[in-house]
């Protein structure tokens, strides 16, 4: 018997990315999401006889872009193959994919997990077409088919089994999404299916090289689900192995409600796709010149931007990482700093309130209307003492909700902080007058009476009084015994 702890997980990931081209991979049908069912198909994507698929130049170009961002070697010649199987969402009874001459191979991606950089090798990246969509819930006896998605370009990114923890897999996916967002080639929306992830995991005894029996896990609808499913599966397999049981080679489905994987129990035989070269598509040469041209057009990628942010803005590694994860967020940060705001307060606003807001509303950072100049204005309002910390947070939320500058929120809501000495003096006097007992308490040495008075005064001002000034004023009055009657 071996203990559960002595097994090491060996994890691989397969990501399908829908490229956000205007048209499908091999025909001119629109790829627009949410169109009326079966309204975006043609003889090519339906596989009617006598048609000729022609590759979408933009999908080809974007594939090369992604391959370079993942440090892959581009094929000098790539070709397409038919992957044959029968399923009601597959109109041609084969999928045009790439088998032995994919777009790119032998790449790698580095992610930082718990302060340590780990490298994951990329086995291959290839282009293929998507299948249609099946709807199961509308009828008891039938499933319904919508072929709009059939033929939409997908990029499949497959890792080597290099990932050694669920957390590393999670971080890999975050980095992948971030890179793709920077490259601007996919919406990466898991709910709309534009980013899909399958994973496989086996266990082996620590320190050995022999791989265990591999289990595939599917039906993963979020990065969090991938992490939870891998943690669950690691525990399930380790427990079974420790009991001396054998792991079945199978595909399991993640049940997000029950938080466990279930055996699919359906495929009695190994899939046999009988790949063969797609006769309707000629080969594609990728020349070194073409590769260099695409490389020259690559934007600054998250890893480069992280390093630059640390250096240029003196940010710590953690802050630089959070700020660069989303291209939109990194852009907001840089623009606000460029507008003349110090880096640290901008970083704090974005990493704190902004990301909390985005998370709370389930939005992508890019979907929030926020002018970088508003951030600068907000920071200045706080620095000049015109807004207190809590008030600034209220203004910030309003600013994002309504998409208006902070001055407008402050003006309309009367949220501006009271720093005017005469106004504060009146406030202090009013509170002292009404709380004679606290004055006596304070003079008898009970300093907590000041806190009570502060609380009363802040309430009276509806939170708008400048707390530092007010506190100093109250203290002075108490100590000097100058309590005036309110005017």
């Amino acid at each position: 018997m071996t203990s559960v702890m002595s097994y090491e997980p060996v994890i691989g990931l397969e990501v399908h990315l829908q490229l956000k081209t205007t048209t499908k991979l091999f025909c001119g049908c629109s790829t627009k999401f949410g169109a009326p069912p079966n309204g975006q198909t043609c003889p090519v994507c339906l596989g009617l006889p006598g048609v000729l698929p022609v590759l979408n130049a933009r999908a080809f170009d974007w594939g090369i872009r992604v391959a370079l961002a993942f440090n892959c070697q581009l094929a000098s010649v790539m070709k397409f193959d038919r992957k044959q199987y029968f399923y009601p969402d597959l109109p041609k009874n084969y999928q045009i994919s790439q088998y032995d001459q994919p777009l790119a191979q032998h790449g790698h991606l580095e992610v930082v997990v718990e302060g340590q950089t780990t490298r994951t090798r990329i086995r291959r990246i290839h282009l293929e077409e998507d299948a249609g969509k099946l709807l199961h819930d509308a009828s008891q006896h039938e499933s319904f088919v919508d072929f709009n998605r059939a033929g939409v370009p997908l990029l499949e990114i497959v890792t080597e089994p290099d990932l050694r923890s669920a957390e590393t897999a999670y971080q890999y996916l975050i980095e992948l999404k971030s890179i793709i967002e920077y490259l601007d080639v996919s919406t990466c929306n898991m709910e709309e299916g534009s980013l899909r992830c399958d994973t496989n995991i086996s266990l082996r005894s620590q320190g050995t090289e022999t791989l265990g029996v591999k289990v595939e896990v599917k039906n993963l609808n979020s990065f969090r689900a991938v992490k939870l499913a891998l943690e669950h599966e690691q525990h399930r397999q380790a427990t079974a192995l420790a009991r001396g049981e054998r792991i079945a080679q199978e595909t399991r489905l993640w049940d997000a409600r029950a938080l466990r994987t279930e055996s699919m129990r359906s495929k009695e035989e190994a899939a046999d796709y009988r790949y063969f070269p797609e006769p309707d598509l000629v080969p594609f040469m990728i020349t070194p010149e073409q590769v260099e041209q695409v490389r020259g057009q690559l934007p600054e990628l998250p890893a480069q931007r992280r390093a630059r942010f640390q250096q240029q803005y003196q940010l710590c590694a953690y802050d630089a990482n959070v700020l660069t994860q989303s291209r939109a967020l990194a852009h907001l940060f840089e623009e606000a700093v460029r507008a003349g705001t110090p880096a640290k307060p901008v970083a704090n606003w974005l990493m704190g309130e902004f990301l909390a807001y985005v998370k709370d509303k389930s939005l992508e950072p890019a979907a929030v209307k926020l002018d970088p100049v508003w951030l600068k204005d907000l920071v200045e309002l706080v620095q000049r003492g015109r807004l207190s910390g809590p008030m600034a947070k209220t203004v910030f939320t309003q600013m994002l909700d309504r998409g208006v500058p902070p001055q407008q929120v402050v003006g309309e809501r009367g949220l501006e902080q009271i720093s005017d000495p005469a106004h504060l003096e009146r406030l202090a006097d009013e509170v002292l007058q009404a709380n004679q007992k606290s004055i006596e308490d304070y003079r008898r040495g009970k300093t907590s009476a000041l806190l009570h008075l502060m609380g009363q005064a802040m309430r009276l001002s509806k939170g708008t009084a400048n707390p530092q000034q007010l506190s100093a004023l109250l203290k002075r009055k108490l100590e000097q015994g100058q309590v005036n009657a309110p005017q």
Partner: protein, 98 residues
């Protein structure tokens, strides 16, 4: 020397959803083995120095711009299917997920 056995034919026919009776299976097995024999003859041709290719046309990199073209009308697409539930095509219930 590789030959195609009746078992392989039955298996491939099943994968291709083709129904073959014993007579047809025997016939196809013979035909496929004849094709293999012909390919074996071709293998005698010296091909050193000939670039391997998956395609006979002297063409490569045939691409089209990412510009949309009109799709077929929804009604005519649905009309192609043996069973429908407009605007969908209908198939016997698929139980398996994934």
């Amino acid at each position: 020397m590789t030959t195609i056995s009746p078992d392989v034919v039955t298996q491939v026919a099943r994968l291709a959803r083709l129904r073959l009776d014993d007579h047809a299976a025997a016939h196809v097995t013979q035909q496929l083995n004849d094709i293999l024999a012909y390919v074996r003859q071709l293998q005698a041709v010296p091909t050193d120095g000939v670039e391997p290719t998956s395609h006979v046309l002297p063409l490569s990199n045939v691409l089209r711009p990412d510009e949309s073209k009109p799709s077929l009308p929804q009604t005519s697409v649905i009309a192609l299917a043996p069973a429908t539930h407009p605007p969908f095509l209908a198939v016997p219930k698929v139980l398996e997920a994934g």
